[in-house]
Symmetry: C2
Subunit: 313 residues, 2 copies
């Protein structure tokens, strides 16, 4: 098989017959009691406790979802909040996810200029060979504000290593309009970014998709329709399904007729399903893994029933 | 003294009588031979070698510049490239710089939505009390692309803790025009961002300056003049002096008549002065610290002679 990121991603999606991406968002105040208890039993220092709890929670969650989904997306911020110990936990979680055959998209939203961007790219874009970078991710989310020239080091290294990047285009938050929706000469800023992303994807395309993807929020379904059309070679990462309000009907336009073209993320709705109905009543905190499994299966079924991603060949 | 970031920063600037900010950019291929040798003597693993070399290099550079300048700016990317070991080195370097009385601006260009942005803010904005966060920085660089609502968690925590943020407005790279200079209704995107930054600075102002700053590149002197005028309450961080081509005349408009209003960064021109003329010939690799000291003193003199920052009261 080719080492190209999109080719590897699509093979994983076809193998699991779903585009569901499980976010790994270890929020200390929401972790299940047994995970917190183990961490307290093993460590005295609160920082070491948090890092240990994050690692155990993510590893057990990965064990639940690895048979079901193609990819996971650890949110770097939650790990980084706990300093170097948190960073070590993140690196172990990424490594574990890859050992289970998952595609790992590190959600760190990095971006900088010139040789500094290269340093981020070298560090985070392991790509096809996990040993190619210290953070063994397949892909990384990247912020475009600094300009097209600052995306290029990421694209170059992604292409070399069979890695991917997902450039923020239209984000899922309520205030994403403040700068992204500014209209410059009849074209919004997110459309300007989208044009660059499509160019970079086309330049790196294999089997129809580049190694340069885009983040487009499920909370903006109209923009998603437009962006799927204007970026035909771009793999999409769709946040905002579930807890942020996006539904299967909203994300359906992210997929091409083939059923490919996007992964749809769910973080809180799976990680902490044990706190949400209908899972809270059925499973509760002791069976948090069963709750996460049920929520994952429900999302898989929802996307299969309501999008072309249910008919993957 | 007040715990407000700008007040603390300005006290440090007045104490040292200069707005010079020394970037800490440990690039492995440019580190002095003695630093690399010590790391190889102590560690077998190349990753541990890199992390040890980064820490020794930065600590020794801090010892050189701490008596001369008010602040340092570690570039997170170079540390992160080396994985969790690099992150641990970064955290130790930040801690050491604070123990020497320096203001520490962590250049990590973070940004995310909602509670994720809060996690970054809690983790990186220690502010007046170094123990308030795992990364003990006084301030953090932040990317505005995701929208105004994503800046607010940073502003809230910065205000609470006496920390600061520097929002990317007009960056120093050649391609910063691609999105930042797009003209939306007679106003460029960087001007839209600048307007939000000025509002947030005004809301948090004490003694004329807010805890919300802006990054404006010395490589765009015309825009710097305009942005200093449109953001009167905003402390500026000016990259691009020296190796990127900016001169004292270019950065002079960053300062108000009081001589306050900006810090001017120099990374490579000080870190690796031993490789640059006139220092290479005079000092060479063995005397790299003396070269860094001479380059720092020369920059201090240059800004003192050619900007209002030379007449601080």
């Amino acid at each position: 098989m080719s080492n190209h990121y999109a080719t590897r991603l699509h093979a994983a999606i076809k193998a699991k017959q779903t585009p569901v991406l499980v976010g790994l968002d270890p929020r200390l105040d929401q972790l299940p009691p047994d995970v917190l208890r183990h961490a307290r039993d093993e460590h005295d220092d609160p920082v070491a406790q948090a890092a240990a709890a994050f690692e155990e929670f993510c590893v057990r969650l990965i064990d639940v979802v690895a048979p079901l989904v193609p990819a996971v997306k650890p949110q770097s911020a939650f790990f980084e909040e706990w300093g170097p110990d948190g960073c070590l936990a993140l690196s172990r979680v990424i490594r574990y996810a890859r050992s289970k055959g998952l595609i790992v998209i590190c959600d760190a939203k990095r971006g900088d200029i010139g040789t500094t961007a290269e340093a981020y790219a070298r560090g985070y874009l392991a790509g096809a060979d996990p040993k190619a970078a210290l953070w063994q991710s397949d892909a990384l989310t990247v912020n475009p504000y600094l300009g097209r020239d600052t995306l290029e080091p990421f694209v170059k290294i992604a292409k070399e290593r069979g890695a991917g990047i997902y450039v923020l285009v239209k984000t899922s938050n309520p205030g994403s309009a403040s700068f992204q929706d500014q209209n410059a000469g009849g074209t919004t800023i997110y459309q300007h970014v989208a044009r660059v992303v499509e160019e970079l994807a086309l330049e790196t395309a294999e089997d129809g998709f580049g190694c340069v993807g885009a983040v487009v929020g499920a909370t903006y379904p109209r923009e998603l329709v437009e962006l799927r059309a204007s970026m035909p070679h771009v793999p999409l990462l769709i946040p905002g399904y579930g807890s942020q309000g996006g539904a299967a009907a909203d994300v359906a336009p992210a997929f091409q007729e083939s059923g490919l073209g996007a992964v749809v993320n769910n973080s809180r709705g799976i990680n902490f399903a044990y706190k949400l109905e209908p899972y809270a009543e059925e499973f509760g905190p002791r069976k948090w893994e069963a709750a996460a499994e049920a929520a994952t299966k429900r999302m898989i079924a929802d996307l299969a029933a309501n999008t072309t991603a249910g008919k993957l060949l």
